[in-house]
Symmetry: C2
Subunit: 403 residues, 2 copies
């Protein structure tokens, strides 16, 4: 039963705590056995049975739960660096999409890539996420947009979930955009999703969740209702990309369908906030997308005041958020979403775990939870999120083993 | 004469180029001898005398000049992470300063620290800057604010400039704020600067530049004129912290005094822009400060259109910009200052070199310039600044030697 001691500050991030209480313990110690945490508390209170166990000196640093990135588009072909320069010159995300760039260009590149190419590329990203202290990653399909290529992305996730130490939570996002070949036959594409893909994916356990992007240029609320209701009837959890670029009723639909999470929400209405509070849906904020698009940030203070839990994730994708740097998203959430460091830390641990229905086993450093944690080269949570460095994570423990 | 080959893209960043032309060469090679670049160009044109030299394969990556961070407050005691949480809760930078935090709290910590403590702390930061590809750093005093402690900071820079491979450009910023003990005797403090510190610092070559912070709560324009005119008469170059939080005539004063650079400029007036264009002063933009303070960014497009060269720097300091991550500042300059990747790269190389009067020897990868360069793990400049990773710098060459 290994023990960490001389921890300046340890964040337990208890499930169900108020968002602004990350359960910080000064002068802490923590012990685990195999992959489960057995004890956590003030160092002087460490029970006698742990005192002769192998012990690591944390030299007055910060210990946090392994980070959970609860919204990524991990698997894709190609990159879109040249679109970045176009956006700087003033083109909007939607204009670029209409000119043949945007999501559809990544669809073309993803379809052209082999399963092995996609798997190697995603594995490299996972390696680097792990170095940042990230131990669980939600990952969406949605760059295949036909039967073979959506299954190819989900198969990448299935294989990586076995081969890579980071845990993956796969989400089916066939309803990302309507693929080019179905521009004139939207209903046929939705039929394909509802009649073939969703039943097959549910049957083969290739995804835990189904997501849909409600936006001009993507799907309408009523189209999303049909797709997500079908997914729910097949036992998949529901997520929605809602209110990112305009107020479109996505939050209200998320509440109506009792979605696990509503994601983006930069333009959520007051009615949408009230609806999410009633339904217990997690709001997933994506500050890197707001930053890269030079667009609004989520009204996190209003959401938290209304009682909506707010997660923080990267939205890692090759267009609107081409970075997997979750600690950068955290610092931006502090600055631009006016979330306190404790609110943000809960947002990437227990609240993020709730957004993937796993907050009973990950996201908290408490007895019985999984021994996933990160040792951060900072004396406190405030210092970590304030002094942005390339990577402050010194060591990662995953399933009770040092990486 | 070592050679780098198989470079996907090399940025020469010629001195005096239009800001949007970084002199990019596809399929490039570069050769140097001792600490000086001897040849750069298209790989097929490599002259015969270089063909049998030791050669390193860059595997289709990007090569750039060593980065120049032309505005930092490198040496300081303590940190101010807890102020960060206060700012998130809504306190302004000026309110925190008035409540006893802010610059004056760093002055207290810097005075309390020994020269050795300050040197070790700054050396650690320089190590990490170098890992990011930064080979030259401008560094300001201004946390001592009395004779002994301003000299202590400048002595840290003198010692580090000898001991550390990164080149330091020291700037005297005694006119950062009026120290607490002189609140009721501002003129006596300015007398101290003009009659004792500036002559001594110039005589002992402890700084190349003198800077002054013109702002409510810092110095007035007429106070700055007196201090900087004195510095100029002692042979120091002039820099000004101007128009950061309000429009205060700082840019116009910079032009009047023919300052080398005017820094911040978030609230520069149209008249200020015109004045800088006339005087040939470099505008130093500090996007990390704008980001951390959730304040305006510099109007870079207006400045560039008017013919003012715009550098990009971190402003690394423990209050308003507690990060030395220059590539993050670069990505933010693209997104929020609407500078193209080529404009930004020039802004951290040849234009930054001009801001420290060194653009005749650093900041360009051309024959005769110093062999300071970085190998970046990206296939192009656009890709590097778009796909933000913890640190994309793979190797750094300083004075012709690999670090």
């Amino acid at each position: 039963m290994p023990v960490l001691h001389n921890i300046a500050q340890l964040a337990t991030c208890p499930r169900g705590n108020p968002q602004n209480d990350a359960g910080l313990i000064a002068n802490a110690a923590i012990a685990w056995e195999e992959d489960i945490i057995r004890w956590v508390g003030h160092a002087p209170d460490l029970p006698p049975e742990f005192r002769n166990e192998p012990s690591i000196d944390c030299e007055q640093r910060l210990v946090i739960p392994g980070l959970i990135d609860c919204h990524t588009h991990l698997c894709f072909g190609g990159w879109r660096g040249d679109e970045f320069a176009l956006r700087i010159a003033g083109a909007t995300y939607q204009e670029i999409a209409e000119a043949g760039g945007g999501i559809n260009s990544t669809v073309t590149a993803t379809r052209a890539a082999s399963l092995g190419q996609l798997r190697r590329k995603a594995a490299t990203i996972l390696d680097r996420m792990l170095e940042l202290g990230i131990t669980t990653v939600e990952c969406k399909s949605g760059y295949g947009l036909d039967l073979a290529n959506e299954l190819k992305q989900l198969e990448v996730y299935r294989q990586l979930n076995q081969a890579h130490v980071v845990d993956l939570i796969p989400t089916f996002l066939g309803a990302h955009v309507v693929p080019k070949e179905h521009t004139g036959s939207r209903d046929r594409y939705i039929d394909l999703l509802c009649n073939e893909l969703i039943p097959m994916i549910a049957r083969e356990n290739l995804a835990l969740f189904c997501d849909a992007f409600i936006e001009d240029g993507a799907f309408t609320g009523s189209e999303a209702r049909r797709i997500l209701s079908c997914a729910a009837s097949h036992g998949l959890g529901i997520k929605i990309h809602a209110d990112q670029l305009s107020t479109g009723g996505g939050a209200e639909l998320a509440a109506e369908l009792r979605a696990v999470s509503a994601e983006h929400l930069e333009y959520i209405s007051d009615e949408g906030i009230e609806a999410l509070a009633q339904s217990g849906t997690v709001a997933v904020s994506l500050p890197l997308a707001s930053c890269y698009l030079d667009e609004a940030y989520i009204p996190a203070r209003k959401l938290i005041s209304a009682g909506v839990p707010v997660a923080v994730a990267t939205d890692f994708n090759p267009g609107s958020a081409p970075s997997f740097h979750l600690p950068l998203a955290m610092t931006l959430a502090c600055i631009h979403q006016r979330m306190t460091p404790e609110e943000v830390l809960n947002g990437v641990t227990t609240v993020a775990a709730r957004a993937v229905c796993a907050d009973d086993r990950i996201g908290s450093l408490l007895p019985g939870f999984r021994a996933d944690l990160a040792l951060i080269d900072a004396p406190s949570l405030n210092h970590w999120l304030y002094h942005f460095v390339p990577n402050a994570c010194l060591k990662v423990l995953k399933n009770g083993k040092w990486i």
